[in-house]
């Protein structure tokens, strides 16, 4: 084996030299012998002749020498490749076409693979990322995305759990950054001191947080991201110790994170600060607001770690039945949390591009078959000269492999461009949660994948023509060549390939159609409020400047009052959580007169709104009344009141009237029960298309807060009011930024629900268009070819009185048959495959007959158009010429 390898290496690097040496050696032999013979009296010419005779067949021995040395297979392979290159260069147009088709097929696969590789295969940029787990508490019986935990529970976990190296917490926060320019809202990651060390990440500059930093009265310090350091701190290496102004307070920079650091669950915020929960957050066990990651100790299996956490949870449930009685621990992997949502999307895209590749293969096989007809004579001659079937097949496969590798190389080179084109369609918010997309590049895995699919492709598209050609009967071919026609076997094979192409294209069209319909259904799904002409943004009042609720309420009333007086503004309200933004805050409550076991109270969304909220959103009143300014602040005698939505009334008061009933939130057991004064229509709280969920509305004036969202109903284009509104805010408090201003339409556009459907529908639609184009080219080729072949038949028919329409019908019928065959295959395949789209579809079934019928009709229509061109050509056949043709 080693000998073989050595010989192979020798042959690769020293082949030319060895060939020369062999020639020299044999020449020396001949000349020495001739010299000896001449010395014995022969004439020089006679001596040389005699020497050659004694030596025997020179080329044969050379070949034997090469074989003895182990270079024969190399030489043969090299000859095949050279021959293949010559064949490719002889038909540059054909070669280019094949390479481009293959580059399309392989290129889209390489692109999707590089994304899949970055998202699903490549390890996360942490130390032993496979160990990292996520822990969260939920009261739901099913898994929810990224559940929260409470701080007291977290503290108990860190104290009790033995099997963990570290358990760390994090939470998203925001702060107004006042630097050189206008105030800016920054995302701030709030983390426990052991967060970065749990991930196994060390700051590139400065130090990590230490345990003392966790203390409530610890120093005001931050660690900044590499990007923030570059963009806002001028990549200053001496930045450690400098002060950053956040919410009007100075924070010392103690560290800069490494450039490749990312943390997708929090969209990789620019600034990181110690967690330091405020009093309520730290003390209340049923206030679940933080996320937890954990790393088991080395040698502790994840099953053991799970078991320990479950045991601790069971103990906590016994100790704190009120808070933890109904809580279930949800444990997962960090990777699952990061890529779980996009996995079905990526796998769907992967499936789609493999269909494109199959079509490209069929297309190229078809092209090769069409050329095979022209090559039949060459084959026949080679067979007559003694080439074996095996040698011919090997030759064809070499040619295919060469084409596939060229196509693969081209596809690979264009894939980064293709990926950037694909990621351009992703909304900013979505992109931030998929940081791995920015690290997509050509790596060994991608190279290996591309090479493998290129080789596999070569086998798929190369084998059919190879078998077809080498099967051919030599004599038949030598005779047939004169007429330049293909055997019926070849025609049948080509038709099958076209039907397959059309079928695959139809499957992609169905997929794209179903997703498009889902997107349309999402946009048409009634969110329960008017989404047009609605501008939204958030305001976060820093507690330094706005010390209490009264200050916040005063600002809110002053600010919204000023907005109302702006021309173009119809009405203004605030709300704690905007609709269609994921759901947000929820609350547990009990209904008066319905005793509930501690910890098992019902839970629903809660929204704090100002009086005009329902008018601004155009949410109808079902019963009772809206909040009124006269409901007051709740402190000076006016009792607190609640409004609920219809879903709430239906769920919790199915056979009674919810109006006038009294409820109480469980976090304030001392508080009295509070009356429901109104029932309103359902707004869609979570995301487009989600079913209506129960909501309790509280009155902002009765319990003001420093953070709220402003909803502005405008007369015209909401974005045109951005400037004036910013002006009002600036003149009131220049330190306050307008956080995430966007129209409701923009919120819908960038929501995960829409993104997860529209994005693949756009990509699969592109792939389907590509596939359809390829399939139509294939169909066109086959029909043209068949028209050329049937010229004589058409001529006879016309001579016998057929008119143009008859000829047109004959040809179009063939195209129609192929298209119908394709539709049959495609519908069958589609019915099998679209069920895998299941989780991406909304408001449409995977077997939606309308979609299937529409795309089938589309396919047949374009197939007929593609057949019409060659059909027209057929009608222009001159019978006289056609009959003389042969």
């Amino acid at each position: 084996m080693a000998g073989f390898a050595r010989s192979l290496l020798d042959t690769l690097f020293k082949r030319r030299q060895m060939e020369g040496e062999m020639s020299d050696e044999l020449k020396f032999h001949l000349e020495s012998r001739a010299q000896d013979l001449a010395n014995s009296g022969l004439s020089p010419a006679e001596a040389l002749r005699q020497a050659r005779l004694e030596f025997g067949g020179m080329e044969g021995y050379k070949e034997q020498c090469r074989e003895a040395r182990g270079t024969r297979y190399w030489d043969e392979g090299r000859r095949s490749v050279l021959y293949a290159v010559r064949m490719a260069r002889k038909n540059p147009g054909f070669t280019a076409l094949v390479i481009v088709v293959l580059a399309l097929g392989i290129g889209v696969n390489a692109s999707i693979f590089s994304v899949v590789n970055a998202a699903l295969l490549r390890p996360l940029p942490y130390r032993e990322p496979g160990q990292l787990m996520t822990i969260g508490e939920t009261r739901a019986q099913f898994d929810v995305p990224n559940p929260d935990s409470s701080y007291p529970d977290y503290v108990d976990w860190t104290r009790q759990a033995q099997g963990f190296e570290s358990i760390a917490g994090y939470s998203g926060d925001g702060a107004t950054f006042t630097g050189a320019g206008a105030p800016e809202m920054l995302d701030v990651g709030r983390v426990t001191a052991n967060f970065f060390s749990a991930l196994g990440v060390k700051p590139a500059l400065g130090r990590d947080f230490v345990a003392a930093d966790d203390l409530t009265d610890g120093p005001k310090i931050v660690i900044v991201s590499h990007r923030f350091w570059k963009e806002h701190l001028g990549s200053n290496a001496n930045v450690i110790g400098e002060v950053l102004h956040l919410d009007g307070e100075g924070y010392a920079i103690i560290g800069v994170l490494p450039s490749q650091f990312e943390f997708a669950p929090m969209d990789s915020p620019p600034v990181w600060a110690p967690l330091r929960p405020n009093h309520d957050m730290a003390a209340r066990r049923n206030l679940r607001w933080m996320h937890v990651i954990a790393r088991p100790k080395n040698g502790v299996s994840s099953a053991q770690a799970f078991a320990e956490m479950r045991a601790i949870t069971a103990r906590l449930a016994l100790a704190y039945p009120q808070e933890d009685g109904a809580v279930r621990l949800q444990i997962g992997t960090l990777r699952e949390q990061i890529v779980g949502q996009v996995r079905p999307l990526l796998l769907t895209l992967f499936g789609a591009v493999s269909l494109v590749l199959l079509i490209a293969c069929a297309n190229v096989a078809n092209l090769l078959l069409s050329r095979g007809t022209a090559r039949k004579r060459e084959i026949a001659v080679r067979m007559a000269l003694g080439a074996s079937r095996g040698q011919l097949i090997r030759q064809f496969l070499t040619e295919s492999l060469l084409l596939a590798l060229a196509g693969g190389a081209l596809g690979l080179l264009t894939s980064p461009w293709c990926v950037s084109l694909m990621t351009r369609g992703i909304p900013k918010d979505q992109l931030a949660s998929m940081p791995y997309l920015s690290s997509v590049h050509i790596d060994p895995a991608l190279l290996a994948f591309t090479f493998l699919i290129a080789a596999g492709t070569a086998l798929v598209f190369g084998l059919a023509p190879a078998l077809d050609l080498s099967r051919a009967d030599m004599n038949q071919n030598l005779k047939e060549e004169a007429r330049g026609s293909a055997g019926s076997g070849t025609s049948r094979l080509r038709s099958v390939l076209v039907v397959a192409e059309l079928g695959l294209a139809l499957m992609l069209l169905v997929g794209a159609g179903l997703l498009l319909k889902s997107v349309a259904a999402l946009f048409h799904a009634d969110p329960g409020f008017d989404t047009n002409n609605l501008l939204t943004f958030s305001i976060g009042l820093p507690s330094i400047a706005y010390k209490d609720d009264a200050a916040a309420l005063a600002f809110e009333q002053r600010f919204t009052g000023q907005l109302r007086s702006l021309p173009g503004v119809e009405s203004v309200a605030t709300v704690s959580v905007l609709p269609l933004t994921g759901g947000g805050n929820s609350v547990r409550f009990v209904v008066e007169g319905r005793p509930v076991e501690k910890g098992h109270e019902d839970e629903c969304f809660i929204r704090s709104i100002t009086a005009d909220y329902f008018k601004v959103m155009k949410i109808p009143l079902v019963k009772g009344r809206f909040f009124a300014p006269t409901d007051g602040s709740g402190q000076n005698g006016t009792p607190p009141v609640r409004i609920v939505n219809r879903a709430f009334a239906r769920r919790y008061f199915p056979n009674e009237d919810a109006l006038g009933k009294r409820i109480r939130f469980t976090y304030s057991p001392q508080n009295p029960f509070v009356q429901i004064i109104g029932i309103v229509g359902d707004e869609n709280a979570a995301q487009p298309g989600a079913p209506p969920a129960p909501i309790i509305y509280t009155f902002f004036d009765q319990n003001p807060d420093g953070f709220f969202n402003v909803a502005v109903r405008t007369a015209g284009d909401p974005l045109s009011l951005m400037g004036p509104i910013r002006g009002v805010l600036n003149s009131d408090d220049p330190e306050l930024p307008m956080i995430e201003p966007q129209t409701m339409e923009q919120i819908i556009e960038s929501s995960p629900a829409v993104f997860l459907r529209r994005y693949p529908s756009f990509l699969i639609g592109s792939f389907a268009a590509l596939a359809l184009g390829l399939a139509l080219v294939g169909l066109y080729g086959v029909i043209s070819f068949s028209v050329a072949q049937r010229t004589r038949e058409i001529g006879i028919r016309m001579a016998l009185g057929a008119v143009r329409r008859d000829v047109l019908r004959i040809v179009l019928r063939q195209g129609l048959l192929l298209a119908v065959g394709g539709v049959g295959c495609g519908v069958a395949g589609g019915l099998l495959l679209t069920r895998f789209l299941g989780s991406l579809l909304y408001g449409v079934r995977p077997t939606d007959p309308v979609t299937f019928a529409a795309v089938s009709a589309l396919l047949i229509a374009v197939a007929l158009i593609a057949s019409y061109v060659p059909a027209r050509r057929a009608t222009e056949v001159d019978p006289i010429v056609a009959l003389r043709y042969e």
Partner: protein, 113 residues
């Protein structure tokens, strides 16, 4: 009667190894040496020598180097390696055993059976 005998299959390698064991020689020299020692008893197609030489070289039984021939020309010289020497010894022994055994068989008389 033809004075030259056909070479038994497989024996060319043995002859080459033996010829090379008498000192480095180029291919033509090895051929001459075999013919000289055997007094022209074998008919060898000269070209057949080279595939055998290449094979033995690849098996590391022969070593090669380029040198200058007696008529002052560049020529490739073959020299027996230690592995080649060992192989020659084994092959010689087994050849002798074979010859002896065949001699005994051929020399057998009816009364000895």
């Amino acid at each position: 009667m033809n004075p030259q005998a056909e070479l038994l299959p497989g024996t060319l390698d043995l002859l080459i190894l033996k010829a090379a064991s008498l000192g480095p020689r180029h291919g033509y020299g090895i051929l001459l040496r075999i013919q000289q020692i055997s007094a022209g008893a074998f008919s060898i197609e000269q070209g057949a020598l080279y595939p055998a030489l290449y094979r033995l070289e690849r098996q590391r039984l022969l070593d090669t180097e380029w040198g200058v021939s007696e008529n002052n020309r560049k020529a490739k010289y073959y020299r027996l390696t230690s592995a080649g020497r060992k192989r020659l010894r084994q092959e010689t022994e087994s050849w002798n055993r074979l010859v002896a055994a065949i001699g005994v068989v051929l020399g057998a008389r009816p009364e000895e059976v």
